[in-house]
Subunit: 465 residues, 2 copies
């Protein structure tokens, strides 16, 4: 497990230097020129070494529906998604592997999987994802997606009186499942973490949030949630609480420095101050926000207010990929259209810091990962700067962030263990994965969602369409 990368390019404050990086027992033990080789010697020539990025929000099993979801806004899209959700753990296993492969080959060494649970097989679903991530070796943050209200409750009522089916599982039972998952699977030192992760204010009671806070405090767990992804959710929060969702979550005590919040598209200036004051993290999912027409999150405002921001791919049904470099690129340049003063725009080096250190902060891991620092865990990615997509030679980080790197990841290590070698994931058999994904699916264009048909008229009315 010990190795020394020789003559590799790393970023300095505003330039690059060529150096050696030594890793001993999973940790970076030295960064300097001409180090004695310990363990395997890795040729770093014409390669760039960066800390691994964090894919800070995804839903792995959505991979089964990527490419086929209708062009719809979140609330209707969710209805279609759940009408066709995969219901067997073998599929969960394969899509967790697929998500990890695409994340690793685009610079990610950690993944936050806001994992959709198969009803009645909740612990089995979590166990399956844990198994997949352990096998492939990516650092895993499994955030079982929970709610205690039924789907239609997530759409504002507007002027109408509406009744919703009760959710099929009680709040207490849901919390018990999470606590059991923590007991069985939460092993941070082994790279497997369980998070508390109510889906969001739109489908969760205060009791569920409060229960999650208790679990988080008792077991030292990070907290995750969707937050104000759509205009409809902003409206719903006002209906439900008479205040913004952020103010409500603050009162409940859900926000804090180990809380990460996906999307954050519809926050006002006071909300932004609250996120800054509570040191909460925004996980920006630009591709999903565009695909679902959710809006453009005010990321430059977050940065100016001192809010930590990092990137996620979101589930592959709303992206429809798990290429983290694509999310970083679009999540960086998208905001240049929102502020005419280019001095506020995100630079490629800032993007890299957001994706690596920003992700570490989101997960309360800032002392352990997120930068090339002696003493930190060796979650590292080595990019091949002779890839056509990174040529001609100019600024390597600029090429990586603003270009469209293909086949650019040469090697990746998690906790010092190498899991990408010469551009291939070597901890699992990727060809076999491809074959299974192929065999268990079929080309399809004709499917129709029954639930969308049922709720679309109400959605259009209440949203003024």
């Amino acid at each position: 497990m010990n190795f020394t990368i020789q003559n590799v390019l790393i970023a300095t404050d505003d330039a690059y230097t060529t150096t050696d990086v030594k890793v001993v027992e999973g940790k970076i033990s030295a960064i300097a020129s001409n180090l004695d080789v310990v363990g395997t010697a890795v040729n770093g020539e014409n390669k760039l070494l960066l800390p691994g990025f964090v894919n800070a929000h995804t839903h792995s099993s959505e991979m089964w529906q990527r490419g086929i979801m209708s062009v719809l806004p979140l609330e209707l899209w969710l209805a279609e998604l759940y009408d066709f959700a995969p219901l067997d753990t073998e599929k969960v296993y394969l899509s967790a592997l697929g998500t990890a492969v695409e994340t690793l080959l685009s610079g990610g060494t950690s993944v936050v999987d806001h994992l959709v649970l198969i009803p009645g097989q909740e612990l089995e679903t979590i166990a399956t994802a844990v198994r997949a991530y352990r096998e492939i070796g990516i650092r895993a943050f499994i955030a079982p997606l929970i709610q205690d209200e039924s789907l239609t409750a997530g759409i504002p009522s507007g002027e109408t009186e509406r009744n919703h089916e009760p959710y099929f599982r009680s709040t207490a039972d849901t919390l018990a499942i999470i606590e059991e998952a923590v007991r069985q699977f939460h092993r941070p030192e082994e790279g497997v973490n369980i998070l508390v992760a109510p889906t969001g204010i739109q489908l969760c009671s205060d009791a569920l949030f409060t229960g999650c806070i208790e679990l988080s405090d008792r077991y030292n767990l990070c907290r995750h949630s969707h937050l104000l992804e759509t205009k409809a959710q902003e409206k719903l929060a006002q209906e439900k609480y008479g205040c913004s969702a952020v103010e409500h979550l603050k009162r409940l005590g859900y926000l804090g420095d180990r809380t990460s919040l996906a999307h954050c598209v519809w926050l006002n200036d006071i909300d932004i101050e609250i996120l800054a004051a509570t040191q909460s993290t925004v996980v920006h999912n630009p591709l999903s926000n565009l695909r679902l027409g959710s809006g453009i999150a005010p990321i430059l405002k977050y940065r100016q207010a001192g809010v930590n921001v990092t990137f996620g791919c979101d589930g592959a049904s709303s992206n429809d990929s798990q290429d983290l470099l694509e999310a970083i690129k679009i999540g960086s340049i998208l905001h240049n259209t929102t502020d005419r003063d280019y001095q506020h725009w995100i630079t490629p080096r800032q993007s890299v810091e957001m994706a690596a250190l920003g992700g570490a902060k989101a997960l309360n891991m800032v002392d352990k990962i997120g930068s090339l620092t002696v003493g930190k865990q060796a979650d590292l990615v080595l990019y091949d700067l002779t890839s056509l997509s990174l040529l001609p030679r100019t600024d390597p980080i600029g090429l990586l962030v603003l270009g469209r790197p293909t086949n650019a990841v040469d090697s990746a290590w998690v906790n010092g263990k190498q899991i990408v070698v010469a551009g291939k994931v070597n901890s699992i058999n990727v060809d076999e994965l491809r074959q299974k994904l192929f065999q268990r699916s079929q080309w399809d264009t004709q499917r129709k969602s029954q639930t969308v048909a049922e709720i679309e008229a109400h959605y259009r009315t209440v949203m003024g369409l």
Copy 2:
């Protein structure tokens, strides 16, 4: 040159069918099941066949500065770009090849190269691009970039009195160069076309536009130009003409059904009607518009008004890639944030039509390319649906447009000639190209643009920053 693709998936009106496609003497001669094989048999199993797309706006030599350009808006970015523009034809040759390779491997079979000319070596620059594109075999539309005003004239004056250096070459000399280029290189039947292409109203006199119109009429040439890419250009048009740039171009007679206009970000409703009435084409370059903070072009409005829209990568210094599928994806989903009614959003099948047939229309080639139609030229792309990035199997076109396809192009033909085989461009030596791009460049982060330093203060004042 004759071949028959067997058992390949093609799109029907709203589904897919498996069929054979026969190509004889560069043209599609039959599309039906169980055709007799003529020429080479190509196995189409688990592959999708689409018409080749058009990369309808780029500047190939910008490849030399991709990744390194500062985070700046167009007017300042241009100053930096020209301070470091490559000035030898060998570089022009290599970047034309690089642009073609990336376009081909992302579904494009035609490229519109708004080619930056080396001062004093204008015809040599054009000859070099022609040579590169002939060698690689992509269908080339070379649009030599011309202007007759100097760079500072492209920034609005605002309240200040400003004098600009005269441009180094006369309008007449510029037009003579284009006419000579047409005589030497315009060979549509051989896949090499010359376009008239003043850079735009911001740096061109009426005389230059009028001269281009005359050449276009005399030699049956398509017309190309940038149009209203930035807020500053909208301002400048008012200063220069007292009306919108579109109205001015209409009066000059530049618009029409073989005119394509890159960007079109800052058009008003009357401008849009003019584009529709003149049957002009908008070339949407979403990544460049984001990268330079130019804005979001009102593409859904164009479509509703009946304006033809297609996609371009724009030059690699403002993108910073030539991946056409990326431009198509972002250029499709970006607009979901601009119109709350999802019934107006672009579907993946519409995106494909915009990229293929829309591109053909832009280039007055609608009878010859842009769809799988018997009698049309065989500009075809075959996608490998067993690529991990296109799995699991769902809707192939959805996966292609909304996903992040990597290593997905299996084969490509231009005019019936195969130039991508088993995922590799085989008409040139791509490894040698990589090596030359590597050798002729160096990693760099410290460069500073003198011109930006000179003009930035004025830019900030006049733009109210």
